[in-house]
Symmetry: C3
Subunit: 108 residues, 3 copies
């Protein structure tokens, strides 16, 4: 029987220049991994990237709630005042939840 | 203390040709921004893109519920009858919620 | 009036080599489509891709709950023991829900 568990998905969208630093910090804060993609977009700083500008990065992390909120607080304190970033979080049901420190529950 | 608020995430997947028009309309409907990525995929119109065809676009928007549902209705009325599109919406907890017109709440 | 319905979003992140097989299997299991993107990332197997390695794939599927959990079980049984994969699922509200076998409900 397939078992899943509830964990958090954190998504960070922001300047690709700081993304590389953030990816290292996310691991240091206890995440087991992340995915990284380059995205285009328009936000409060206008359309990105324009010629010669860095692109935007989208970083996704699956983690236990405690680690997820630690990441949120870190980004809020260190980056949100200086950079145009969008950071959000929601719940997902993950396979092999024990990898993320979550209790496995049976599927219906 | 880190504060978040509940907003909507709207995801629009469809023909990259109309994506550029949709991105402008999304801003006109009150969104503060969006991200745009090119994706491959298979749907009711078969695998996209094949040779000489446009790719598919994935547009993501974070917005207050009122604006999010306005976007949903716009896409439904103007595009869903003519184009193969998938449009969906869910709730996320966002940092700096006041940027999206949502009330900030304290994190646990 | 715009109508939506509740369906599942399944996200599969894993080795791009098996992604092509998984995409075919997902359709065989009853999904009407998927999107596919290449992503970079760090996980329990280290940073991917490094030189000469395959990239990681991110596959997203919108489907009725029954089909979504069938996909989850399939990936769990066939791939999770052999490959570094992250698979998760959540609820989304989709336009034109009848395409996915979900009942349409009126928007507020």
């Amino acid at each position: 029987l397939t078992k899943t568990g509830i964990v958090k998905r954190v998504i960070i969208i922001g300047d690709d220049d700081v993304a590389y630093r953030i990816m290292q910090e996310v691991i240091a804060l206890g995440a087991t991994g992340y995915t990284h993609q380059t995205v285009h977009g328009k936000g409060s700083h206008g359309f990105r990237p324009t010629h010669g500008e860095p692109a935007n990065a989208k970083i996704e992390i699956i983690a236990a709630p405690e680690i997820a909120y630690r990441i949120l607080e870190h980004i809020d304190t260190r980056y949100c005042n200086k950079y145009a970033m969008i950071v959000f979080i929601d719940d997902v049901e993950v396979l092999r939840p024990e990898k993320f420190g979550a209790a496995p529950i049976d599927q219906p």
